[in-house]
């Protein structure tokens, strides 16, 4: 395959969104302009995906080591899977947005929203393709600011507040990235990546450490790692559902890409820093899963889950680098790499699918609150099957793809328990327990998510009268579920044969036999189900419809589990970490009778990071600002005094 053709395909995929958005803007009076724009977006995704597939074939066949893309840059092997994810995400969400955005024509200013989406898409692709520090930062900032407009798309106060926090954090991240990259380049602003790596080899330990810390902070804040994660649960739910899917499913991966790419610039990786990455990854995973388990808002739950998964991914990356350096543990490294790549792919699939599903649910019932939903499985049986598959994927249960990725991780950790020196064995034990805890909380969270939305009866009128499901909205979600299932079936054997480490700049192959045969797992799961079905068919047992035992009082949907009730044990156990506060106000109905009372319950949980870090820091800065304000006292003589004092002081100091 001609490299020039492939590069032209990439350029087409890069340029088409801009053209699509412009067309949408020019034709904005026409009713089908949004559809046209989304179709063109999808086309760019399709073309890009095709290009990625062709390129991947060429690269793994060994004929190409990197691809020159027009005048824009050079695509390295590391960027290929990430571009694939970007294009796949664009394809799925654009298809979804054709119908999804049409329902919200009054709320979003569609032509301009599509302009922001186009810039977002171009920005993401440009981040992966960027060949130099300047272009990388340019693309990164473009992507981030376009994402800001996606977050504030409905212009409500909540969105503006979420957008504000997002903007401050992304700006902070950008400054950290710029600082880190410029330290590595020694102040030269125009270096390409190759030159940067060369120059970085000459730096001392302190600048290297500082640069690493800054880069980790920058990429980590965009990926949602603790403690720079607080913007994520606010921002992702506010965006339109298709965009949320892209933000959670794709943009976070671009941050991971950036981090992986920047790791290649460091001549040797500092061991303690990788431990820090591991620690923060696990802490993020824990907090993400915990908050997902106790969250009542469907989309915010999914956002916290993204934090959890990103934490696991970063932990996996850290484990890879920690083990690949030591001789005794080196065989484990490929398993960690495998986990990272699989999890990136899987998370993209199930998170995009779930966000789109949440969008479908929200547009039909007009609510995101788990306590108001329920019983949707009766109205949408097939769709609920699809979302069940996605929820199982999110919970990392077989036979879906996520399970196999995490299997690799657990396998590697289990092997690590028996290899290496006592310190590493102990670390492996700690990591394994943390992963287990996180996994448990994640299962809890997604059981809650699925059951409260689909099972039982509708809890409110809105859920009761949910509209019909349009196939065009459900199809992308179904595709995600099917792909997730497919990944489960084929990915492990497929990737086992592929030199995964090539992506990490090392030549490692997954040891055969360290894996697990997914078809076997699928069979083990399917067999009992099939058997049961056959038995019920054969025995022709009748279904009896009757009243269920209700203690004499009629059952109402409100007596079902609520999200708050379901999560109570978790909330209780982790009440300190959740900053849980409960207040019961009791007022007697009649003043003379203290026994008949009206009770008011106020339950609050907070993100402790917000309470102990963000708010105090923010308030502190504002307080300082207020005291600086006093400089502008209004007294002109004071202003003159400032001028005079400055003059005198400068004369004394500078001379």
């Amino acid at each position: 395959m001609d490299p020039l053709l492939i590069s032209r395909l990439f350029l087409f995929a890069l340029a088409t969104p801009a053209f699509a958005a412009l067309l949408g803007l020019l034709l904005r009076r026409v009713s089908w302009s949004n559809t046209l724009t989304q179709v063109l977006f999808a086309l760019s995704g399709l073309v890009g995906l095709g290009a990625v597939a062709l390129l991947a074939l060429e690269m793994f066949a060994g004929s190409l080591s990197s691809l020159q893309i027009g005048g824009l840059g050079v695509l390295q092997p590391l960027g290929v899977p990430f571009l694939g994810i970007i294009y796949a995400g664009v394809l799925l969400t654009s298809f979804y947005s054709i119908a999804a955005l049409a329902k919200y024509k009054e709320i979003y200013v569609l032509p301009w929203l599509n302009v922001a989406s186009a810039l977002f898409l171009i920005g993401m692709q440009a981040v992966v393709l960027a060949p130099s520090v300047l272009t990388f930062l340019l693309a990164w900032e473009l992507m981030s600011i376009a994402a800001y407009f996606l977050v504030i798309a409905d212009r409500t106060e909540d969105s503006l507040r979420a957008g504000f926090l997002y903007f401050v954090m992304t700006h902070l991240g950008f400054l950290a990235l710029a600082a880190g990259l410029l330290i590595l380049s020694g102040g030269n602003p125009l270096l390409s990546w190759a030159e940067l790596a060369q120059g970085a080899a000459t730096l001392g330990a302190l600048p290297l450490s500082l640069a690493f810390a800054l880069l980790f902070a920058g990429f980590g804040s965009k990926a949602g790692l603790v403690p720079l994660h607080q913007w994520l649960p606010y921002a992702h739910p506010q965006a339109p559902s298709g965009s949320s899917a892209l933000l959670s499913g794709v943009m976070l991966k671009v941050a991971v890409f950036g981090f992986l790419q920047s790791l290649t610039f460091f001549p040797s990786l500092l061991f303690p820093w990788m431990l820090v990455v591991l620690l923060l990854g696990l802490v993020s995973a824990f907090f993400g899963a915990l908050h997902a388990a106790v969250e009542n808002d469907a989309k915010r739950l999914l956002a916290w889950s993204s934090i959890e998964n990103m934490g696991l991914i970063f932990a996996g990356i850290a484990l890879y680098f920690l083990t690949s350096g030591t001789a005794a543990l080196a065989p484990l490294a490929p398993l960690f790499a495998l986990f990272v790549m699989l999890h990136i792919l899987n998370h993209f699939l199930f998170k995009s699918g779930l966000f789109m599903a949440a969008g479908v649910i929200q547009s039909a019932t007009h609510t995101r609150d788990l306590d108001s939903l329920g019983g949707l499985a009766r109205r949408w049986p097939l769709f609920s099957g699809v979302v069940l598959a996605l929820s199982l994927a999110a919970a990392a249960l077989p036979p879906l793809g996520t399970f196999f990725g995490e299997w690799a991780l657990v396998q590697a950790l289990a092997l690590g328990l028996g290899a290496g020196d006592p310190a590493s064995r102990f670390t492996a034990l700690l990591v394994l327990s943390s992963v287990a805890l996180v996994g448990g909380l994640a299962i809890f969270a997604f059981v809650k998510f699925f059951s409260l939305v689909f099972l039982g009866r509708a809890r409110t009128e809105a859920a009761e009268h949910a509209g019909a499901l349009s196939w065009i909205l459900a199809t992308p979600v179904a595709i995600c579920a099917l792909l997730s299932l497919g990944v489960g079936l084929v990915a492990f054997p497929l990737i086992s044969g592929i030199p995964v480490g090539k992506l990490f700049g090392a030549e490692v192959v997954v040891a055969p036999g360290a894996g697990i045969d997914p078809t076997l797992v699928a069979l083990i799961l399917a067999a009992p189900a099939l058997a049961l079905w056959l038995i019920t068919r054969v025995l022709r047992t009748k279904i009896r419809i009757t009243d269920t035992w209700d203690c004499g009082a009629p059952l109402t949907p409100r007596m079902q589990y609520t999200s708050t009730g379901f999560a109570a044990p978790i909330r209780f156990f982790f009440r300190t970490l959740l900053g849980a506060r409960r207040e019961i106000i009791t007022t007697p109905v009649v003043a003379s009778n203290p026994w008949v009372t009206k009770k008011h319950l106020d339950w609050q949980i907070h993100s402790i990071w917000e309470v102990w870090l963000y708010k105090p820091l923010g308030h502190g800065i504002v307080r300082v600002a207020h005291s600086v304000r006093r400089l502008q006292s209004g007294v002109v003589q004071f202003y003159l005094l400032l001028v005079l004092l400055t003059l005198i002081l400068t004369l004394f100091i500078a001379l």
């Binding site: 502008q632 209004g634 003589q637 003159l640 005079l644």
Partner: protein, 215 residues
Amino acid sequence: MISVFAATAAFGAMMVVVALILISRMRFSSLIAMFRLLSLLLAGFAFMLGWMEGERPLFAVGALVLIVKVLLIPEFLTRIAKKYNINLRLQSYVRPTTATFGGLAIVALSFLAAWRFIQEPSDVVALGASLSLVMLGMLLLLTRTDMFGQAVGFLVTENGIFLLGLAMTGGMPFFVEIGILFDLCVFVTLIILLVLRAQAEQGSLATEYLRELVD
């Protein structure tokens, strides 16, 4: 004959003394009168310098200073003050005696600073005197709390700078001097316009009414 150094010293000293008296004046008429005297001394210095160095342009400069700073500006200010019934009692943050003591300290410090920076004695006096005038003008700007006081403070500072120019370099190129004086005229005009507006809006020229714009 008298040397340039002696002339500079004499005029410089006289101007410093007049400025010291000026800063303690709390009535508009005496403030303006002292300013006239100060400017007269400046013009005189210019004339003397022109005569001694044989530089014709300096005569013109002296004449201009005479016309603008001794005649025009003070007259303009006085007429406006009378016509619009502006309060002729000026205000300050510090009492006249405190101002004088402060001024004496400033003069001493200025001469010390001049001595630290310049080695030649003639230049030290010149620099010291001009620096004193500039600083005394700044003192007025910092301590006077009415618009006229501040304006006169600025004018005194300008006199100091003029003295610096004359003493150290024999004046600037002529057309620059004209430009400076022209700017000064426009400045005074603007001050008067603002003063009149303040009188109309607030009824007083006290700067305590000019403290609303805070953040």
